[in-house]
Symmetry: C2
Subunit: 351 residues, 2 copies
Amino acid sequence: MPTTMKDIARDVGVSLITVSKVLRNHDDVSEKTRKLVLDRVKELNFTPNLVARGLATGRSYLVGLLVPDLLHPFFAQIANSLSEELLKNGYGLLISTSKEDPELEKRTVDGLLRRRLDALVIASVSTTSSVFANIQEAGTPLVLIDRCFPDLKTNYIGVDDEVVGTLATEHLITIGCKRIAHLRGPATSPGIGRLNGYLKTLKKYKIEAMPGYISAQMMVDVHSRESGEYLMKQLLRLSPRPDGVFAYNDPMAIGAIHAILDAGLRVPEDIAVIGSGNLHFDNELRVPLSSIDQQTEQFGELTAQLTLSLLQSKTSFRNKTVIIQPQLVIRASTDRRHNTNRKGRNLANAR
Amino acid sequence: MPTTMKDIARDVGVSLITVSKVLRNHDDVSEKTRKLVLDRVKELNFTPNLVARGLATGRSYLVGLLVPDLLHPFFAQIANSLSEELLKNGYGLLISTSKEDPELEKRTVDGLLRRRLDALVIASVSTTSSVFANIQEAGTPLVLIDRCFPDLKTNYIGVDDEVVGTLATEHLITIGCKRIAHLRGPATSPGIGRLNGYLKTLKKYKIEAMPGYISAQMMVDVHSRESGEYLMKQLLRLSPRPDGVFAYNDPMAIGAIHAILDAGLRVPEDIAVIGSGNLHFDNELRVPLSSIDQQTEQFGELTAQLTLSLLQSKTSFRNKTVIIQPQLVIRASTDRRHNTNRKGRNLANAR
DNA sequence: TTGAAAGCGTTACCAG
DNA sequence: CTGGTAACGCTTTCAA
């Protein structure tokens, strides 16, 4: 049986309550008593049972994180930052994945709620905000990340997705693309925001959206690469075929490039490709991938920061929104400047 | 205030105990009472407070996972599988990262122990098994993954690392490499096992180990790519320089390839490179990377399975070891078969 | 089949 | 400064 505060109290000859106070740094304990208790605590290497404390205080010292897929570096990074910062402050991080399935997301949320988490951080895959009714009802502070729900009053951290779409599309136009396709994401705020940025930019430059140039498929965050490859194959059948592709995220872009090269075409000479996310291995790819950087590290830190502030604020939950500004990162997959130089040196024309 | 069992009991007109029994499917409750209770439970969408249950039963329904870095796909995959399987069985997964720092690992373990976790899954970065004293003392079931400690009697799941080293080195020899270097991993069981496989294979084929051909650097699981690039740069200064490189893991191999191409050399013609891990994007790389597959998915599932079996077995902890057999996967980074064909088409000679 | 009593390890409130 | 009493929400044991 593990040591309890009762044991310490008995050993030292004070009451259990005094021990409790010492352990929580209450100042109404004499220095002498405090030292006595702390010595014994150190001797026994004692640490209070957080479960019991949780029951008594109504706080679990636990934060829940729900993301579509931990294999996606964007979410892994957030999990990393969050877990690190929380631990420093005595909180634990409970992680679950929804596998891009709203039904599973709902069940998972309910499961997490049973644990009386002190806060919940969710990258939701739901299309309606009804999933969050239970959370609001339970009074659990909520931080939405990546995907937002305009009709829901809560904390949100995300990238300016319309700007993502704009930057990517404008860049493709700048390098001379005339027929720009979009491999779109899911019907969540990032998916829709990026699509809108794409559409608005086309309109701004008076480029007509070609029929069939917007490809969609479900489950993009879980099987993005495969989706990208599949969708790109479809696009290649069109006539005229696109000369530029903006993919919802980097894995989809990678899949798209795969399909293009497989078809014997070149990237970026025949078709330029840009994604979003700026994943850490983008620069090591067959064709180094142009991307829209989402400041993933900063994103993770901001998430941790906001969550901690919710945890510490005694006042009722705030309602803060943080929008991160994305940035264009140009690599070979859209770099046509040294076109002739590159041709012979680039794997783009292999296979 | 959230609903409690007491509320249900009052509403239905039975005792709290009876409600508790119904909720746990005890069979000493009449069908009538059971239905009454369940109806009300459903009406209120009630779920028992796991914190309270945890205090009463001494179980937290929580499993802890401690890995060096979630950004590494190998560990992310394990986290994914584990979280998924555990959730199905009513358990939560608490995730922490050690950032390849033994000191942090120790503190984190102690922090996790305070929560009275029902089991702990650890990919340890420690060099001694002393970190686990507290775990054994607390009586928490332990599953070691990836890195093992021969002097520690506990459950272990890992890859046969000596075979990893053997497969990789033998493959390099097979394709004609004469001067094979190794970018080694940390002083953990996988790092040492792979190194041993490498050394034994060299010996078996009577190839002498060249001085300086074994490069080492700390922190490989956190900054693997950078390490690989840095170490490879050192190797390139040697004379004669290696014509084959076996890297501890894929990120290091990617870094190495980067350095080789930067130096104006070709992969695999001048230097062949092989890693380990068979990451999901290995095939999309600048030079598609040969690797030793570690069956990551199966690894994750086995981990989940073993952990669950520990959780469910009422008997004291077992002491099971599972060794996964690795497999060679050949891609362009070591493929010299179509040497002449490939030269012009391969990005290997770019930059 | 039902439920009363005791307890899990801690904290909050208030009296001494 | 110290400590008793009650409570957190649930389970366990055992008697009715």
